[in-house]
């Protein structure tokens, strides 16, 4: 029905489906998008699967199961421009909390028949295994950044994805700083923008969905949290949350775990 248009593929690894759902949540833009790009392989939305190669491939989810790496390599081989979307695909996501734990014990705890469960010890990012052309952060991603990525791709330009901190968005919203005014621990200073600073807008501290910003001073922020009377283990847990396996947050959390 849309032959000749660039082909879009959407793939899923371990995830909640929320990031690929973001595409269907672009209600205002969806029919325009499908007028400009061909949904060639997007099983959550369509039964129809067209052959590759694909011009634009989105990958959601963490690499966490045997066979994932091979599947990823096949996807890479048939993709011209590959974008990993969301905290799971860019940093292993929430399930990366297994990465420092005993996964055999986890399996016995959750499943009645652990012998049927075959899993990797670690949940890791797509870019740890294949070349990725662009990463979209977030848990979930910003649908505005997703649409910007598609539009930029269709127009042959680089998408505009800021790498500064949530604080910039918070100031633009005119929010009162929750940390300065209310003593609430907030990861905004070290977290990449993209969400629109929604947590501070609702009077809570940022919990780091978008992962580390380009030059995060996690040590200084941790010290400030300590001055606010926040426990070391809470600081550790905040860094080890939805982006625990992103380098800067992993190391920051380890610093507070190690010096207890």
């Amino acid at each position: 029905m849309t032959a000749g248009l660039p082909k879009l593929a959407v793939h899923k690894f371990a995830s909640c489906d929320g990031c690929q759902l973001s595409l269907l949540d672009c209600e205002d833009a969806l029919l325009d998008v499908v007028g400009a790009i061909q949904i060639a392989n997007f099983p959550e939305a369509s039964r129809e699967v067209l052959d590759g190669p694909y011009d634009l491939t989105l990958i959601e989810g963490a690499v966490s199961a045997p066979g994932d790496i091979e599947r990823l390599q096949e996807i890479r081989a048939e993709s011209k421009f590959l974008v990993s979307i969301g905290a799971c695909a860019t940093a292993g996501g929430i399930q990366a909390l297994r990465n420092t734990r005993d996964v055999d014990e986890f399996t016995r705890y959750v499943y009645a028949s652990p012998e049927y469960i075959d899993t990797l010890d670690k949940a890791t990012a797509v870019a740890d295994h294949v070349k990725v052309d662009l990463e979209l952060r977030g848990c979930p991603i910003s649908k505005h950044q997703l649409i910007e990525t598609v539009i930029a791709f269709l127009n042959g330009r680089a998408p505009i994805i800021p790498t500064y901190s949530v604080c910039m968005e918070c100031k633009r919203n005119g929010n009162t700083c929750v940390m300065v005014a209310h003593g609430v621990g907030c990861l905004g200073p070290v977290t990449q923008a993209g969400c629109g600073a929604i947590c501070p807008s609702f009077h809570r501290g940022c919990y780091g969905c978008f992962g580390p910003m380009e030059s995060p001073n996690t040590a200084a922020l941790g010290e400030r949290w300590l001055e606010l009377g926040i426990d070391r283990e809470v600081i550790r847990d905040q860094y080890h949350f939805f982006n625990s396996w992103a380098d800067a947050f992993r190391e920051a959390g380890e610093a507070y775990a190690a010096s207890e």
């Binding site: 029905m1 949540d25 205002d28 939305a45 705890y109 959750v110 049927y116 609702f202 809570r204």
Partner: protein
């Protein structure tokens, strides 16, 4: 499709489309009799219950939301209620009403997404809603706007549509002002008409005939169509407190599928979700929702799983009505949350996700950290009913060519709006086939 010479006919669907998550099924037909050899998923284990141990109880709503991007609010609600039970507090008044309002948004968004964009194409023979839009552009535009209003309601109350950020144990981080809620009233008034149109659209679809003798199970409240609160009730005599959930239901291991499935102890399969809620709570729908159902040809009880598409549309009418009612009587509460002292204990929560009852149980230590977690998602609870439906459908449609039969079976699974990324508990890793 393989057509074996020994009278064996195999239908394998390795990748089930238009479900949120990834599922597969295998059915063998030998000498005119069907057997399900597999209905599985390949969502890898994500170990939520395991890694939640040691985390602060206050993190449960944010962590469990990530089990499902389609129904994060259900996870936030069930976990928040369970934790509030541990702490010995009750969230009432306008804070409780706001939770119902948030759930209205999720129901509108999720039901419209599933009914109109993922399920309706099956009835009309389209590969997807995008293909459907070529011939039914006005309908697709209408449902996209309706779905967007559900998302807008969630965003207004809680920051964003997927993994919203405003729900906390005890209530909310910030309660909206009256003026903020008023901004969505005009949209909801439009949504009322659109949802009624959606019921008519669903009722106009060619409807396969199938009547199943389900044991319907849902949360039931004496005065309200169920969202957050009530007893667990069935049409076959069950009537228990939420804290008795694990005494009543159990996860069993079925050798054939190497998978865990939920059953009522000593009784077997049961059904949660729209058909169950509707059939157990019909009289608690609003008058307009009841009328829409009756005009669409539904009785007060609905046993045809394919008609779940109509019931979802009827529940969308209800959710819009309920949202308008809550906003109309809203007064900004003095405090956004109920304060509490941290204490140790066990808590249970069961609320109605769009696709059915979602049960959480937690044990929390005196330090406020989670000791034990147990989650039963709706799709795992429905798996036996899904399989029973598949058997009925396949045995009634053996004359269909393979591709049509395959599509019909996919449609039957999609009757359940299976949220498969939630349901890793009945994970089937295709260990041993044949």
């Amino acid at each position: 499709m393989p057509q074996a010479s020994d009278g064996l006919r195999a239908i394998d669907v390795d990748y089930l489309a238009r479900v949120e998550g990834e599922g597969s099924m295998k059915i063998r037909i030998r000498d005119g009799k069907a057997e399900i050899t597999e209905f599985g998923i390949f969502e890898p284990p994500r170990f939520f219950e395991a890694f939640m141990r040691g985390r602060l109880h206050t993190e449960a709503p944010d962590i469990t939301a990530r089990i499902c991007g389609i129904c994060p609010i259900a996870y936030q609600m069930s976990s928040a209620h369970a934790m509030e039970q541990v702490m010995g507090i009750t969230v009432g008044g306008q804070l409780r009403e706001l939770r119902r309002l948030l759930y209205c948004g999720e129901w509108i968004e999720s039901h419209v997404l599933h009914a109109a964009m993922l399920h309706a194409p099956d009835f009309l023979g389209y590969q997807s809603a995008i293909h459907m839009a070529a011939d039914h552009r006005e309908t697709v535009e209408l449902v996209l706007r309706l779905k967007k209003i559900g998302n807008d309601l969630v965003t207004l109350l809680a920051g964003r549509e997927i993994h919203p950020i405003n729900v906390k144990v005890g209530g909310w981080y910030r309660a909206p002002s009256r003026r903020e809620l008023d901004t969505i009233v005009d949209d909801l008034v439009w949504a009322k008409e659109a949802s009624l149109a959606l019921v008519q659209f669903a009722a106009s679809l060619p409807m396969p005939e199938l009547e199943q003798d389900y044991e319907f199970v849902s949360v039931c409240h004496p005065d309200e169509y169920p969202y957050n609160e009530g007893r667990i009730v069935s049409n076959k005599g069950l009537d228990i407190d939420v804290s008795e959930y694990l005494d009543t239901f159990e996860e069993i291991h079925v050798e054939r599928s190497n998978a865990l499935q939920s059953v009522i102890k000593g009784r077997g399969a049961y059904l949660v979700g729209p058909l169950a809620r509707y059939s157990l709570n019909f009289e608690k729908l609003t008058p307009d929702a009841r009328k829409a159902a009756t005009d669409a040809g539904l009785g007060e009880v609905c046993r045809n799983p394919f008609q779940s598409i109509i019931v979802r549309a009827v529940e969308t009418v209800y959710a819009v009505d309920e949202a308008l009612r809550i906003i109309d009587q809203y007064e900004t509460p003095a405090e956004p949350a109920v304060p509490y002292e941290v204490r140790a204990g066990v808590g249970h929560g069961a609320t109605e996700a769009p696709r059915g009852t979602l049960y959480h149980r937690y044990e929390v230590g005196a330090d406020g950290r989670i000791v034990d977690a147990h989650i039963m998602p709706p799709t795992a609870q429905n798996q036996q009913s899904i399989e029973a439906d598949l058997l009925s459908v396949v045995n009634g449609a053996l004359d269909l060519p393979d591709d049509e039969l395959q599509w019909k079976l996919e449609q039957s699974i999609r009757n359940y709006d299976p949220c498969i990324s939630c349901a890793t508990h009945f994970l089937d890793l295709e260990v041993d086939r044949e």
